[in-house]
């Protein structure tokens, strides 16, 4: 085996196989113990069906027998995804779509006499607005009478966080950052309002389920003698599907009005800003763009509509939600909206702090867009210009950044509630700080506005 082959740090729990990377190419070794399940997946028509429905990533079998370890049966090369996102970066709609996709896959699998042996939200990614399952080895042969081994995991990864986001606070998706295997049901049960006990689906799959877990916590049971028939299993999946479908955000959350499209500059300035960005993107032609502070993705679309793989990051979960719903509605391609707090971006998490990669490790992008963002870093987070410049230089190779002068009403709004200690907040200080990490290529003033767009390239 070559030295530059590396096993993926998150791929160690399932003995059926694992992911490894040979330089830039991703492979999956299937172990001999999974041989018969893999054959069933491929020969029964299940793989074909799921791929047709765009619910499962495609893969190619590799002829090589140069296995990573001696338990190897086959090596496959899965379809490449440009970016891996995590459930703590998804909005409500994305987590809900991932939950429904998991159940759809399980229902389809049962029709082919197979069943999902896990139901982790990390098994799904987003491709062109749709959730897609990435773990080809999650399917096992279904034998009659067998309960769903992943029921607990499904409730922890989907039912509990979605219920908490709906009934308590959208920001509770951040519990995924603390609990590596989904939200513990006893915690969800204690946090949810008492009224949720009057909803049959949540009473059963969350509250009573949590009680049952507590009751049997130290008891061992003979699982081989405990059976449930196929109809009961389908009834369970059906009930979970109804539970997820009924979890909807209140209308007060989703009737956005003009809030997200409100700007403090004139229509002329707005059009000019769009044209400037569009032309800069055409000129540079980056393969990937990360739009930081993207709001509902209006400017991100200038990139994705030019077939550039774009990620629209924002700290406002409702803005991400609005962006996601627009992508689904219009079947948009090449745009992925994600939640991120840029002052505290996703860290490396999990076993040995390596299972889930930090934001920085998943970069850099070819281009960063930071429109109407720098004043938030500087004034709301007290970040000196030079620290912002350093951060952007770690995230991408080139940068489109908007400088917003102090007299702009958006800056004044941030200063309204605090003392102005930002005597260095000016264009010259901004340029000098960014020159430490970037070469300034272009400076373009937006018509009918005091705002300025810069194109920069990393030194």
């Amino acid at each position: 085996m070559k030295k530059n082959i590396k096993k993926h740090p998150s791929s160690f729990r399932d003995p059926s196989g694992f992911i490894f990377a040979d330089q830039e190419t991703i492979f999956r070794q299937i172990n001999q113990s999974y041989q018969s399940d893999y054959q069933q997946l491929m020969n029964s028509g299940l793989y074909q069906k799921l791929v047709e429905k765009k619910l499962l990533v495609t893969h190619q079998e590799i002829k090589s027998t140069n296995f990573y370890s001696d338990q190897g049966y086959k090596i496959i090369q899965p379809q490449r995804l440009n970016f891996i996102s995590y459930p703590y970066e998804w909005c409500f709609g994305q987590l809900k779509a991932a939950a429904l996709a998991t159940l759809q896959i399980q229902k389809t699998a049962l029709n082919f006499k197979m069943s999902l042996k896990d139901a982790s939200s990390y098994n799904l990614q987003f491709l062109n607005g749709q959730p897609i399952f990435i773990d080809t080895l999650s399917f096992e042969k279904y034998s009659v009478g067998q309960p769903w081994v992943a029921y607990r995991q499904f409730c922890q990864h989907f039912v509990a966080p979605l219920a908490l986001m709906k009934y308590k606070d959208l920001r509770l998706n951040q519990l995924f950052r603390i609990f590596v295997d989904g939200v513990p049901l006893d915690l969800a049960s204690s946090l949810l309002p008492f009224s949720t006990k009057f909803k049959f689906s949540l009473l059963t799959h969350l509250h009573l389920h949590a009680k049952s877990q507590k009751h049997f916590a130290d008891k061992s049971i003979n699982k081989k003698t405990k059976k449930m028939n196929w109809r009961a299993l389908r009834g369970l999946i059906d009930s979970l599907e109804n539970t997820i479908n009924n979890l909807e955000l209140p209308k007060s959350h989703t009737e956005w009005g003009e809030y997200y499209s409100f700007t403090n500059y004139s229509p002329t300035a707005f059009e000019d800003k769009k044209n400037i960005i569009k032309n800069l993107l055409k000129e540079i032609r980056p393969k990937t763009v990360w739009d930081l502070g993207a709001n509902d993705g209006l400017f991100s679309r200038l990139a994705s509509q030019q077939d550039i793989e774009t990620i629209a990051f924002d700290i406002d979960l409702l803005a991400v939600e609005k962006n996601y719903r627009q992508i689904v509605k219009n079947k948009e391609k090449g745009l992925l909206p994600l939640f991120i707090d840029l002052t505290n971006p996703s860290p490396s998490l999990g076993w040995q702090n390596q299972e889930r990669a930090s934001l920085l490790k998943r970069g850099p992008a070819e281009m960063i867009m930071a429109l109407a963002l720098i004043h938030h870093f500087t004034i709301s987070n007290n970040t000196p210009f030079v620290k912002s410049a350093e951060f952007f230089s770690q995230l991408g190779h080139s940068l489109i950044i908007e400088f917003i002068p102090k007299n702009d009403s958006k800056v004044q709004k941030l200063l309204a509630t605090r003392e102005d200690i930002f005597s260095d907040y000016n264009q010259i200080a901004f340029e000098n700080a960014f020159k430490k990490y970037f070469l300034i290529k272009k400076i373009i003033k937006i018509k009918d506005s005091n705002r300025i767009i810069y194109l920069m390239e990393k030194k």
Binding site: L110, N111, Y142, Y151, T204, Q213, F216, M228, A232, G235
Partner: protein
């Protein structure tokens, strides 16, 4: 010689015995028991739902509509 035959026997044994994937995920005793109980209750509701689906399917056939993916997913047998 004996060692050799032992080795051959062991190799044959591992080749012939079908290897099965072992469930790696702990379903949790409480979750396991609970789903059996709750699914028992839900199976009745599911059976009724399927009954109505069959009636709907009959009408669909009458009107000669193309079989949809949705109906296929709701097949009653695995």
């Amino acid at each position: 010689m004996k060692q050799k035959s032992n080795l051959i026997f062991l190799s044959l044994f591992f080749l012939l015995v079908t290897k099965t994937a072992h469930a790696y995920l702990d379903p949790g005793s409480g979750s396991f028991i609970f789903q059996i109980i709750i699914a028992g209750l839900l199976s009745g509701a599911f059976a009724i739902k399927m009954y109505f689906k069959k009636i709907k399917k009959l009408f669909t056939r009458i009107f000669n509509r193309k079989k949809t993916d949705y109906e296929e997913e709701h097949k009653e047998t695995p």
